[in-house]
Symmetry: C2
Subunit: 438 residues, 2 copies
């Protein structure tokens, strides 16, 4: 403890003179394994299957450039000025049109525009989670969500998935277990469509059941749906929000259907919750960037945005196919993966005894990067899994990357068979718990 | 208490079925009086002296439009893509050049780009403040800062100001008083230049003393400096950060020197703190909008940004003069105010017995809006004060607004002299504590 009025003591073990000043929540703030990789993985000789960057080359930059110029020239006094924390009214109306594609019937008043859906997630956690509150989330789950939950000192309890997404029986068991422990569950965080990182989709027949379970237990559902319109078979699933408007908070984003660098996302919330969200957002950023909202609004009204989504879908389907066929061609026996029907990711399980986190530095030496599975769990699981993102590289690069990855794995298996599993683990050091390979 | 597993009970007094689910911090999230006003104050017949919107009409929209178009056309694949939570490297270098004008010698690595300096403030509070921690702040202080502190359940203790800014002796007394109470002070939040809302500037000879006091007590200084380059006499004061790099976290913004709607601000922090800030920012928004960073970077490299600041200064000086001369001409006896030497605001004290919050609805009826003083205090003070923002309206409108305000005040004084102070208070209801007029 640092007593009030005393200067902070500088411990012999730390060079940070501010160490004793930090809030307790900073203990949960650790560098994401995935993002720590980006610098090295972005070297041109490395095929990065690690990041989730959209395939922007599919965008019509010339016509966008002209539209953006016109927004500044004709609406500059609004675009460059402060706006409301709630968001630009016209954009909120258009967002309702976008959500209508998923069966959602919403009022623009209940939409809050955010700086990417990451901010939506952060705001939802801010208004609902006290330290120690439990958030249920699929295991694995989106790494950015785990970061937000940690920032508010919420405890994540993972719920199992299978090929049809979240398993209702596992959800019941997780709820019962948390209730027995006397802790309080604030919400279920779920990515029902083309899951990040698992690539699976919640089966339509399970959706009502998941909603019923949560409703029966007084648990809010936070539905994160950045990839919902990116189904490769032309199928758009009905949002959870479409059938349960009072108990679902929906998070949407233009990052994957338009442009990530604009950072325009939104939250659709029950009316009473929406008021709290606007207040929280105001204290966080005052307002989302007005220019970016007007650009998205203009884009939706002047461009064939549905056609653009179709273009994206086709690009991602081609890349998914490249990833899957290369996996089938090259991966060593004992590896398994799913075939996603939309979105950006394939989730791969490697042969027993291999630690994907420990293997990563050797993979990068072999000029391929991926995201190891442990980053997607709050509880140390995932060391036998890895995520392949096929969204950004060309199909040719994806095939080359998967080939390199398979070679690294084969070398690793050979090492493992010769020297045993400890070889793989020694590299990653004390931060590599690997309960599911033990 | 809502027991785990039980659906939330709907109280008879509330229509919000989620009421029992909210985090404790939401109790401190209340609608800012100032922002609640914006809707009504933005009607064209009302002269709004309430908001702090910059005078964007001074911007060269045509050349900006062309630059923005070029950013999208030639750098679109970067501008519209995800970036790092740290911010675009080239912009961070240019930010160091901007800060050099205030005597700051900084490394670009220690700059973190944020979604406006409001996000910087929120991130700084996030990493330093546990619930119950004390933040010292001038009284009055920036309403958005009070909102962030409340969101993290920090307790604000105000420190008195005079015409030379924060009073060192008052700072010593506040620290001693908090220390006696056993609470822990995390930082002093201060706006040294052209204070919002008080309009005053911390005298140069006091700066070292304030820094010394904080350092001696192990208290970090958070220096918020959005207006520092907007001094009307051509004077730019040395930043607190310039002489104490290890104990000052500096918040900067392009909102007042360029364009607020881009939401580009920054934090300059001691190196160890900077790492925590980047992690916190990543969990909050993943990254600030890349497009906006490239626009600011382009603007700084191709436009005469120092000339633009000079243009802004001249516009604001003219408006300050309009405000001050009208106050002198019209305000009733017993009113006092300061003459700011930079920035956006005049802080007015009205005659005893007048409650500025209670008076506001009547002022709006008379087609003038202002910000009542209570919004700038965490402790209920300020009911005899009001803030006039002269940044946005034309000088002519400012004069008309001040004339209307003076008339409202005169009517109020007459009512007060006839019926006593309760008339003024009855209107604002139970939310109008007014200890300094009692």
């Amino acid at each position: 403890m640092n007593l009030p009025g005393q200067p902070p003591k500088q411990g012999a073990r730390s060079l940070d003179p501010h160490l004793r000043r930090y809030a307790a929540r900073t203990a949960g703030m650790t560098a994401s394994e995935i993002r720590a990789l980006f610098a090295v993985a972005s070297r041109p000789e490395v095929v990065s299957l690690a990041g989730g960057m959209p395939h922007l080359a599919a965008l019509p930059l010339d016509s966008l450039s002209a539209e953006v110029a016109d927004v500044v020239a004709t609406e500059g006094l609004v675009a460059l000025q402060y706006g409301s924390a709630h968001g630009v009214p016209e954009l909120r109306e258009q967002i309702c049109d976008v959500m209508a594609l998923e069966g959602i019937n919403a009022h623009p008043d209940d939409v809050v525009v955010t700086v990417g859906s990451q901010m939506g997630l952060d705001m939802v956690t801010r208004i609902f989670c006290d330290p120690g509150d439990v958030v249920l989330a699929e295991g694995p789950s989106y790494v950015g969500a785990l970061g937000s939950f940690a920032a508010y000192q919420a405890q994540v309890v993972h719920v199992g998935m299978d090929a049809d997404g979240l398993v209702p029986e596992a959800l019941r068991e997780a709820i019962a277990s948390v209730e027995r422990s006397g802790r309080r569950i604030k919400f279920l965080y779920t990515i029902p469509n083309f899951h990040n990182p698992a690539g699976v989709t919640l089966a339509v027949q399970r959706r009502a059941e998941v909603l019923d379970i949560c409703r029966a237990h007084g648990i809010l559902v936070v539905e994160d749906n950045p990839y919902g319109l990116l189904g490769f078979d032309g199928v758009t699933y009905p949002a959870l929000r479409s059938t349960d408007p009072d108990n679902v908070v929906y998070l949407g984003s233009f990052s994957k259907t338009f442009a990530a660098g604009l950072r325009v996302g939104w939250v659709l919330a029950p009316h009473a919750v929406r008021e709290k969200l606007v207040l929280a957002a105001e204290s966080a950023t005052l307002c989302p960037p007005t220019l970016n909202q007007l650009i998205v609004s203009r884009y939706l009204s002047t461009h064939d945005w549905k056609g653009q989504i179709k273009t994206y879908r086709e690009a991602y389907r081609e890349r998914r196919d490249a990833a899957i066929s290369s996996l089938e061609q090259h991966m060593p026996l004992g590896s398994t993966w799913n075939k996603p029907t939309g979105g950006f990711y394939v989730w791969v399980t490697v042969p027993e005894g291999i630690d994907t986190k420990a293997m990563l530095p050797r993979a990068i030496t072999q000029r391929v990067a991926y995201a190891s599975g442990t980053g997607f769990y709050a509880d140390g699981l995932g060391s036998r899994q890895l995520r392949i993102s096929y969204c950004y590289p060309t199909p040719e690069r994806i095939r080359e990357g998967v080939r390199r990855l398979a070679n690294v794995l084969k070398d690793e298996i050979e090492l493992h068979e010769t020297f045993g599993p400890t070889v793989g683990r020694a590299v990653s050091g004390p931060h590599s718990p690997s309960p599911d390979t033990a």
